[in-house]
């Protein structure tokens, strides 16, 4: 199975072939000689963990990035895709996980955005666009909205269908679907699949990217697995077993950031009992010990971040209770949580974690101003020595404390954000995707730093979509799916396969 299976599905020639594509970014090789064949009338599943290089390949196929080496061959001829327009012109379109649409405009306007039909005097031909859209919707068998419906009235699933219709309006021969089912209910997924099968039967080649094994098995004919930017294997799906796929996706030793602690204190710092939220999660109970790293793993939409928001006082839970350091803990705002010693480093550091247009110094001191200055009056000297202490502790690289955070690299921004929260002197620190989008070096540093934190007696909750990270750092791992806790596993006794199985619903 670990070879290019050229005989995968009979003799038909592939429409699109990716040959030994390499993509280098400064300091990182995102893709290292990957290959892929898409055939007419076939759904091919692209599998891989976060960071395996799936999105990079999608961006190369849609003309957003240009490959460093290798070639893309379409209908037997090499192809160079310099822009998104190039890709469209060759009939390659992609539907992204988070759709970008014009919510105040109608379905028809969204579909024809950028290539409006025009009539006499170059005026917009509304009737023509509505008629064309109506044909597209009929072709897809869509009846529950019409060309004139504003996008804002549609559900997430319906927006995906508009994206599919838009792809069709470009005469798509290759359709890439990047996690189209991540935010859909089972019923919506089934409806989407009816349409995907219809397109397949019409001869479109479909590249299907998903983390949900149920969906992969329901829709795909063949598969390709990437790992760490490299090609691992491909084959026919009906000949493959889930276990084998998981092993191919995850199969490697976790080298860095190994957890070397032998024991964790019995003292419970934070106890959460049957916490429920109106829409996002239900029946969450867990305890966090002193000096422990508790990992939270789950796919996007599993309710992990929303749970952390409730613990941090950003949203109010519906029921349940929390006990922090022996007393009942009901934070009404982040300020409550911070003063009591529980802080949250948010996933989105650009919008929530850092104040980008303020200086490094001002960012680090922001939540601790009152305790630094000991009053209401700012104290420049105390502030800069405080900021310098945490900036050096985290080895922030910057020309001065007055440098704006927006000018720093992602890794250094994250160091500033972690420094900012550390400065409040927390007892519990929740890190939501602490290494998302930062380079390998900064990542290893953040991991090492997390280990130092727990050694100094802090307790850490780490939320991550990156399996090796959760497995390597945590003492115990809570797996969430669809707002519920599915398992609490001991990191030393579990495997990546088991965690993925719980997170995707195979177990």
């Amino acid at each position: 199975m670990n070879s290019v299976n050229s005989a995968a599905s009979g003799g038909s020639q592939p429409i699109l072939e990716v040959r030994n594509i390499v993509k280098d970014f400064p300091g990182v090789r995102a893709l290292d000689g990957v290959q892929l064949r898409l055939k007419s009338g076939e759904v091919c599943a692209l599998l891989g963990e976060n960071g395996a290089g799936k999105s990079t390949l999608v961006k190369i196929l849609t003309g957003v990035y240009q490959p460093t080496e290798g070639e893309i061959v379409m209908d037997g001829r090499p192809l160079s895709l310099e822009s998104a327009q190039d890709a469209w012109d060759h009939g390659i379109t992609a539907i992204h996980q988070e759709t970008i649409m014009f919510s105040e405009l109608s379905v028809a306007e969204n579909i024809f955005m950028g290539h409006h039909l025009t009539g006499k005097f170059s005026l917009v031909n509304w009737q023509g666009m509505y008629d064309e859209t109506d044909k597209l919707l009929k072709r897809l068998g869509i009846t529950d909205f019409d060309p004139q419906t504003p996008i804002k009235e549609l559900s997430v699933a319906q927006k995906h269908l508009v994206e599919v219709a838009k792809a069709l309006s470009h005469d798509a021969r290759v359709l890439i679907m990047d996690e189209p089912t991540a935010s859909l209910s089972q019923k919506e997924v089934d409806e989407l699949f009816v349409i995907v099968r219809r397109l397949r039967d019409e001869g479109t080649a479909i590249l299907f990217i998903s983390h949900r094994f149920d969906d992969i098995f329901a829709i795909s004919d063949s598969f390709v697995v990437f790992r760490d930017g490299a090609f691992v294997g491909d084959g026919l799906l009906k000949e493959a077993k889930e276990e084998d796929l998981i092993k191919m996706m995850a199969g490697r030793e976790v080298k860095t950031s190994a957890n070397t602690r032998t024991s964790v204190s019995d003292e419970v710092v934070l106890q959460v009992d049957d916490l429920c939220h109106a829409t996002e999660f239900e029946h969450i109970s867990f305890s966090l010990h002193r000096g422990e790293i508790l990992g939270f793993y789950g796919l996007v939409g599993s309710g992990r971040s929303e749970l952390m928001h409730a613990i941090f006082g950003l949203t109010a839970p519906l029921s349940g209770q929390m006990i922090f350091e022996g007393s009942v803990f009901t934070p009404k705002s982040p300020e409550d949580a911070i003063t009591q010693g529980l802080v949250y480093v948010p996933e989105d550091r650009q919008h929530c974690g850092a104040i980008l247009d303020m200086s490094i110094g001002d960012n680090i001191t922001l939540p601790s101003l009152q305790s630094i200055t000991g009053g209401l009056k700012l104290n420049w000297k105390k502030e800069s020595s405080f900021a310098r202490k945490y900036a050096s502790k985290l080895k922030v690289k910057a020309h001065s404390l007055a440098q704006k955070v927006v000018e720093l690299s992602g890794g250094n921004q994250q160091k500033v954000v972690i420094g900012k929260w550390l400065g409040t002197g927390p007892k519990v620190i929740i890190l939501d995707e602490p290494t998302k989008g930062i380079d390998v070096g900064a990542k290893a540093m953040v991991h090492q730093f997390i280990n130092e934190l727990v050694e100094s007696g802090l307790s850490v909750i780490i939320v991550s979509s990156e399996l090796p990270e959760v497995l390597g750092l945590s003492d115990r791992i809570v797996v969430m799916r669809e707002g519920l806790m599915r398992a609490t596993l001991n990191a030393k006794e579990t495997s990546q396969e088991e965690i993925v199985a719980f997170a995707t619903g195979l177990k």
Partner: protein
Amino acid sequence: MEKNTATVIPNSLPVSFSDRFRSREALLLGLIAIVVVVNSLLSPYFLDVYNLLDSTQNISEKAMIVLTMTLVIISREIDISVASIIALSGVLMGAAAAHGADTWMILLVGLGTGTLAGLFNGLLVTQLELPSIIVTIGTMSLYRGIAFIILGDQAYTSFPASFEDIGQTYLVNGMIPTQLIAFVFFAIIFWIVLHKTIYGRRLYAIGNNPVGARYSGIRVNNYRLVLLTLNGVASAITAIFLVSRIATSRPNMAMGWELEVITIAILGGVSIFGGAGKITGVILAVLLIGLVQFGMQLINVPGVIMSIITGLLLIISLVLPIILSMFYKRRRA
């Protein structure tokens, strides 16, 4: 700092003279110098200390709202109901005086009206999460409408003498109007609040990134509520000085002041997108507009021309830095 600076991060890089020279404060100072020269050439009465100080009476009244408006805009909010609050509290003070209230009672009515009007704006913005521009467009019509219902096209013109003294007194050898003293007092207070306290730092954080500020444990809505209420209080103080100076209150008083106030704040370097601006710049902008208006009065220029000049100054102050920086870049390249 120690000699071994390899690992020590400096507080800040040295600011070059050309950077200082290209600051907004420097630009405003330059414009002020030009206005002073032009005005003294146009009128021999311009460079007279008594005249100059007397001329501050008008602008100082508006400028008190400019100070609170600066804080409001820095925190990424806006309030265009201020002129209507002046009219409403002015009319209610007139009504109180007409019903025989004494000076203290009149002041209480004026300040109370402004506080409640500002609080109402703030509650709508924070409790219903409505954008402040929409809320205050609504209350702008509402407050002035109430003033018209109370008084129609009439005017209150009788006030106790001790009330009229508030806006008509000159201190220090009869040179300095009370308005100027009040403005300087508030300017110092707001300079301290914005630049020397943790509240000021938090305002900049809120204006730059309200979501990030909330995650940082700042109760963003409390700040919004307090600022919009303060803006109402400042409008009431302006109303007190204005009404006591002209001993008249009408529903159509202070028409269009909201835009003048916002214009001065932006001229002073406050970013309309929030998160940036300094009290010093705003004070210089007040000074600039005050001097321009005084010069225009001296040579009897009609009010329409005045508003053209104000508009031009705003546009020049926005365009000039862009042109200068393009010029600067080209020379370096």
